[in-house]
Symmetry: C2
Subunit: 113 residues, 2 copies
């Protein structure tokens, strides 16, 4: 029942037991992937302060409206932001407070050496 050259300790069993289902691990990776881009991080940081329309974000980050729009779609698909129409403009906002705690957690790891 062994396919490796050297002996691994028995704790391999517990390690395997503690591992969540593949689908969950995949979803988890996908969630972090959304945070793993500077542009999206910037957008989230901006929305942390105030809800904003697309072109305000574009102006803020000195980026194309198209680029921002594409990224906002990614954020929305991940349920991190929501939007509402207001006349001709569309206002984006954070959908909940998880974003704040996620970013805060990441920040901690960076600052605490």
């Amino acid at each position: 029942m062994k396919n490796s050259k050297h002996d691994h300790s028995e704790n391999m069993f517990y390690v395997k037991a503690g591992m969540p289902a593949d689908e969950i691990l995949c979803d988890l990776g996908d969630l972090f992937k959304v945070f793993g881009d500077t542009t999206r991080i910037k957008i989230l940081y901006a929305l942390l302060e105030s809800e904003l329309c697309v072109c305000a974000i574009a102006e803020l980050l000195s980026m194309t409206q198209s680029a921002i729009s594409h990224q906002l779609k990614v954020l929305k698909d991940a349920k991190l932001v929501g939007n509402r129409r207001e006349g001709k403009t569309i206002i984006y906002f954070l959908s909940d407070d998880h974003v704040r705690s996620m970013i805060g957690q990441g920040f901690e790891h960076l600052t605490e050496e």
Copy 2:
């Protein structure tokens, strides 16, 4: 002082003020990027239970030793894991408890709908 077609509210000022330096935002993105891969998430989850040698991880995840080794390098560069030699094998372990809290935070966002 306006390059956009419609008026953005004055809060743009505060939004810009609240934004950290570009370098920090970049580092933050890079950190999340490390978590943004299923293989690395699996490795971290495994190490959450027990320190392990490279081939134990490879066996656990049914992946090549080379693939695991490459990913361990990424994790080590990000200071998320450390290692020590023990005879011929090299044991990897989590370098601190931030990993646990980061993953926990991500998990929360997934489960709380």
